[in-house]
């Protein structure tokens, strides 16, 4: 990211400034090579649309979502309270994140523990930037491409947001094909509830294979996702069918960032 500098909250606070929005990068967005590309895409869009933003950088820590959903409430609340102390210390009021798990946890589970913020998923931020005219999107390379969107559980069923990611990518003049199991009936990628970090229980198929099969049956050019876990699971699924050269798995932010010429 040579073309602009990412500011941390510590730097901003030292300069006596306050961001419009805090970009909560998340663990996958910080450390996973594939997800880092999504993080950069989000940062690029934020920078070029003139949104004043900052990240916590080394002060960020896991929200505790995987611990909580695996039953470790102690560890979750430890993480939550430490994060809340940092966020409140910087007087954070608005947070955007590209991870539906972070989004859900900070938005819904932090308030009771003392963390009250306006939390949005990056699909919602992109939509508001488009709606307000700050972000102008045209088809670009994606024009006419066949795309299917895989709903993240914690964005869709978990928080009733089905439209924002769809309306954002539809600005690319794509052909959006829905899987039979979509929106409220969407099938999980298989990574939630701590599954990302363990082998699946004994069964006759992996969940991401079941889901990827469904997506591939539509012959898409791109499987669009909005969650780092879904990204991993669907990418692995596509590789399993040796389709990685013809079918790409992309986060909606990457698609938007690629289509606009800043």
């Amino acid at each position: 990211m040579a073309d602009f500098k990412i500011h941390t909250m510590a730097e901003m606070a030292a300069a006596g400034e306050h961001p419009d929005v805090l970009f909560w990068v998340g663990c996958a967005g910080s450390f996973d090579d594939r997800s880092k590309k999504v993080t950069k895409a989000v940062a690029k869009i934020l920078f070029h649309t003139g949104v004043k933003f900052a990240v916590l950088g080394t002060e960020e820590s896991c929200t505790g979502d995987p611990a909580k959903r695996s039953g470790n409430e102690f560890l979750f609340q430890m993480q939550a309270m430490n994060n809340i102390a940092i966020l409140n210390g910087y007087n954070i009021t608005k947070i955007v994140t590209a991870c539906p798990h972070c989004f859900n946890t900070i938005k819904n589970e932090y308030p009771e523990l003392g963390g009250h913020y306006e939390v949005i998923h990056h699909s919602q931020l992109l939509q508001s930037l488009i709606d307000s005219g700050k972000l102008k999107v045209e088809g670009g390379d994606y024009k006419g491409k066949k795309i299917t969107f895989h709903d993240p559980c914690y964005l869709g069923r978990g928080n009733q947001e089905y439209e924002a990611p769809r309306s954002v990518i539809q600005k690319l003049d794509i052909e959006l094909n829905e899987m039979k199991r979509s929106r409220a009936n969407g099938l999980c990628c298989g990574a939630g509830g701590g599954q990302m970090f363990k082998e699946p229980e004994k069964g006759n198929k992996d969940i991401n294979i079941e889901r990827t099969e469904e997506a591939l049956s539509l012959n898409p050019d791109v499987i669009a996702v909005g969650c780092p876990f879904c990204m991993t699971m669907m990418t692995d699924g596509v590789k399993n069918f040796n389709k990685e050269s013809s079918v790409k798995v992309k986060d909606i932010a990457e698609m938007i960032a690629e289509a606009i010429d800043f």
């Binding site: 990240v55 960020e60 995987p66 611990a67 309270m81 978990g158 409220a184 970090f197 229980e201």
Partner: protein, 441 residues
Amino acid sequence: MLSSLLFLLLFGIAVYFFTKKIKEVNRNINLGRDVDLNDYQSKRWKTMAMVALGQSKMGTRPVAAFFHVLIYVGFIIINIEVLEIIIDGILGTHRILSFMGSFYNFLIGSFEILAVGVLAACFVFLSRRNIVKLKRFWMREMTSWPRSDANIILVVEILLMSAFLIMNATDHQLQLNGSQHYSNANGIIGSFPISSFLLPFISGISTDGLILLERSCWWFHIIGILAFLNYVPYSKHFHILLAFPNTYYSNLKPKGEFTNMQSVTNEVKLMLDPSSVPPPIEPNASPRRFGAKDVQDLTWKQLMDSYSCTECGRCTSVCPANITGKLLSPRKIMMDTRDRLEEVGKNIDKNGASNDDGKTLLNDYITPEELWACTSCNACVQACPVNIDPLSIIIDMRRYLVMEQSSAPAELNGMFTKIENNGAPWQFSPADRLNWAKEEN
């Protein structure tokens, strides 16, 4: 007169046993932990009206929804007729509500048409279960009793509706014959658009034979309904009553939001800030488990969920774990919870509240393998037509496994350790969190 007394006796017995069972169920549900769900009353009434009364979540499966509505509407409306049957039974009158005149005829006619709808739906449902053998009615947890339970309900409904129609036909014929007690100076009472097709089959029967047939159907219908009433609380059919309170007490928060355990909050606050004052300990409070090992560790709402389950299997049929052959079935979680709760209740009745029967919901009913297969995707919660939440039970049982037994799968323990040590579920240094900002694309 004798038959009126007999009717009253039967009615009294039926109400007595039904009330007794309902009290037992209520006691069992209240074995659960307390949770306050009396907020947002108007929103709750609205949810109940939409989901229970309006069946708003049934429509995702249009065939089942259509036939279910036939039975549902038929069941509710035809029960208005039961009111008349009961009054006639007590007073020895004949069609006492017929003073309503043409509106009465309209009602009786409508009941007959609805009865045909119920009959048709019952046959369709029987064939879906036993001939088409839809997968969700033949899964692992659908052992012989759950399958029989469903069939018993459908067959009884068919018999009740048949008795209702035959009763009307014989009553009609007796009116036509001008028989005493049945006939009326003002002509035929009631409108019989369906049962009149049965007249050719019974017109040859003597008046005594017709009265016998009419009385038999009348008694069969009323005894059948009273017996059915008492069967319901033992059956998956309990949903016809519990769907209403269960949807009223629905979770109104976003599905992604899990409860924050207050007991843990107290502990964590003490750890992070030793100067903080712990909440006062109530003198007689017994130490509580973290998470759920048995039914008493669940909330009363989770226990009510289990009684409300009609075992339709929509949850399991959309569960990603179950679809891919894992042991987990959200429906089984609910069935197990109810079975265990009934067992606990029986043990209390027999041996007193303090008796421990040595069994628990965990392990004796639900295994860790089932619990660890869940992706917490909320598909089961979304699918349930009466807003049951199997996921919350799964998470509460995971909490017990992790926080009381330290028996999470090894990889998850590894993930916990990494979060504790370096603030991420993977092994990366926190110092590297911002590296992405310095890398080239």
